[in-house]
Each structure stands twice: as C-alpha cells, then as structure tokens.
Symmetry: C2
Subunit: 196 residues, 2 copies
Amino acid sequence: MIEIPARRGKAVRLSKGQRIKVINTKGQQVVDTWAFNAEDLHEFMSMEHSRVAIDRIIPGVGDALVTNRRRPILTLVEDTSGGIHDTLFAACDRWRYELLGCKEHHDNCTDNLAAGLAALGLAPPETPAPLNLFMNIPVVDGNRVEVRPPVSTPGSYVTLRAEMNSILAFSACPQDMLPVNGLAMRPTEAHFEILD
Amino acid sequence: MIEIPARRGKAVRLSKGQRIKVINTKGQQVVDTWAFNAEDLHEFMSMEHSRVAIDRIIPGVGDALVTNRRRPILTLVEDTSGGIHDTLFAACDRWRYELLGCKEHHDNCTDNLAAGLAALGLAPPETPAPLNLFMNIPVVDGNRVEVRPPVSTPGSYVTLRAEMNSILAFSACPQDMLPVNGLAMRPTEAHFEILD
C-alpha cells in the first residue's frame, strides 16, 4: 500500500495488464489522475478523446479511457466510490489559487504532476486534463457545472487496469478554498495498491 | 470576408480588442476554433480551464474563454446561431477516421490546425481541445453525450473579441461519416470577417 501524501503527488510505473486500486482512505478526497504511454510520454490519457470514445462525461465500470491517439490506456474495472468522477475541470494550478485570492505559494495538482514524474526522472510534455477521481462536478440543466463535495466514503476505491505499459501520476488535490474535497475543506492523504 | 474552405483550416492574427465574426455560411457546418497567445504559443485557449472560469460547458454571450494560464483570451460578444457549441469533444484526427473504418487518408481538424498555423510560419506546441463552434453535443441525463446535427442556420454567426494579441485557427470540420455537420453529412465552407 503506497501513500499519496495529503497535498502531494506520486507517480508509478504500471505494466500492461496490471491493475491499480486507488483508495479514498479518508473519503471525500479528490485524486487527480494522469496516465502516459511509458514508451512515449507524448501519448497520454486524454479526457476530450475519452468522452468521444465512451459517449459519456463520467466513465463507468467497463469503460476504457483512451489516449490522444485514441488507444485504450486504462480501463475502469471496479468502483465502490459511488461512481462520481470528473473529466471536465483542469487540474488546479498556481493561477487558480491566485484568482481565488492566494497571495503566497499554494500547493497545486499541476506542480504535483511534475513533481511526481520528476521523482521517476521524467517530465510531462504538457499538463493533460486529468481524470479527477471522486470529484463531484455535476452538469445541471445540460449546461451549468457546480462544485459539490465528493460522495465517496472512507476506504472506497476505484480499480484501473493498464492497457499498455504506462506511467501513472496521482495528486491528492490540495484544494482547501472550495468544497472540492468536502465541506470541511481539509485535504487528506489517499493510497494506492498495485495488483498483478 | 475570408473563406475557410470546406474540409480545410485557416489561421489569422488578431490584435487585442479586434473582433472576428465567424459565419456559418451554409448553416450546419462545425468550425473547430483555437486561439494562441501571439507572444507565446504555449499559452492557448483551454476548454478545461474555460469551463471552470464560466461555470458552464457551453459559453454564452458575455463569457470570456481563458487560456491554460487562466487569462481571458476571447470573449463571446454576439451569437445569432442558437447558442449551441461544444467544448467536450477532441478535434477529429487520423485515428478517429481509422476507428470509423477509413482505410485511406481523411482530412481532419487536427491536421487543419497544423496547416493553418504553418501558413503563418508557425507550429502548434500541442493540439489543445478546440472550441467547436456550432457543434451540437448535448449532455443528456447529466452524463451521456450525443452527436446531433447543428441547429445553426445559413448566415448565422458568432462574434469573438480578442483579449490579447492572438493567433486564431479555424477548421471547417471535414466529418462526413457522422451527422456532426448535419444529416446530409456534406462538409461546407465557412467564412470570417475581422472587425476593428
């Protein structure tokens, strides 16, 4: 069991066919998730291509997320979290927190992606839109988006299967100025476990 | 009045404050639209950042689309097309048409972006998710996305105002295997006009 520390990022290699269980340890913690082709980081999981592939804005069990070359990279094989995730919102970044009124440095998912990959000696070629696991951004009346607290409970999880040799990166989202990570606005750690 | 030829791309420079009228000449023609900061192409209009900024998946009159650094780049100032546009779907590309069964080269919006910029001596640093003007991709029941014919009529248009010196790129989407550009599936030309 590997920790994604609160407000931090963590990346890991996954071989084709391996599964990874992403656990919402405390509940209500959003985990931004990226996947890159291990042989070519310019190919990566893409939310805008995945929505076309799955005909949905929220992936469900059995759905394969695809890359920017439209090839399956991760399949959602299990979900005990309530099935609410987000594919619409960008990862938070320094500019997001500046606009929210932050005067000093604020941890953010974009920097966490870079730090997670740097620990493996890698750098992301860009910051793709993430799969925001457990994030609750409903589309209301077919157009309006709302930021709501996650519905996931402590210990609930999602299992993803790698469809190619991949680099996965996670960020335990440090958003503490909006109820992205629950009404208490207290970011917590999460965990993952690799299953062969 | 400048033509975006059927199935082709066209790029243009726009100074801060200038407006551009994008005209659906024949009606029902989707126009994939990108905007880059003219001083730094790595800053560009981002759908995933714009949805956060405008709290909507479809921009309306008065909404400012923002860049991947969360700065306004284009404001939608006028819309006679019925107000239906798409921010969810990736630009079509060679892989999309291969998956649809195409055995030979098929024109596509991703190549059209590159060709449009190349005509200005530029290259896109990546292929951002486009603002798909006039494209009709409703979110049904809060999750499912459907491909429907556009509701725009011949001669209807959208006017966008540049909030920084920008490079705009357009592609008259060559999709002729799905009703993206109307039930007849016959891609047509579109036009734009720069207004000072």
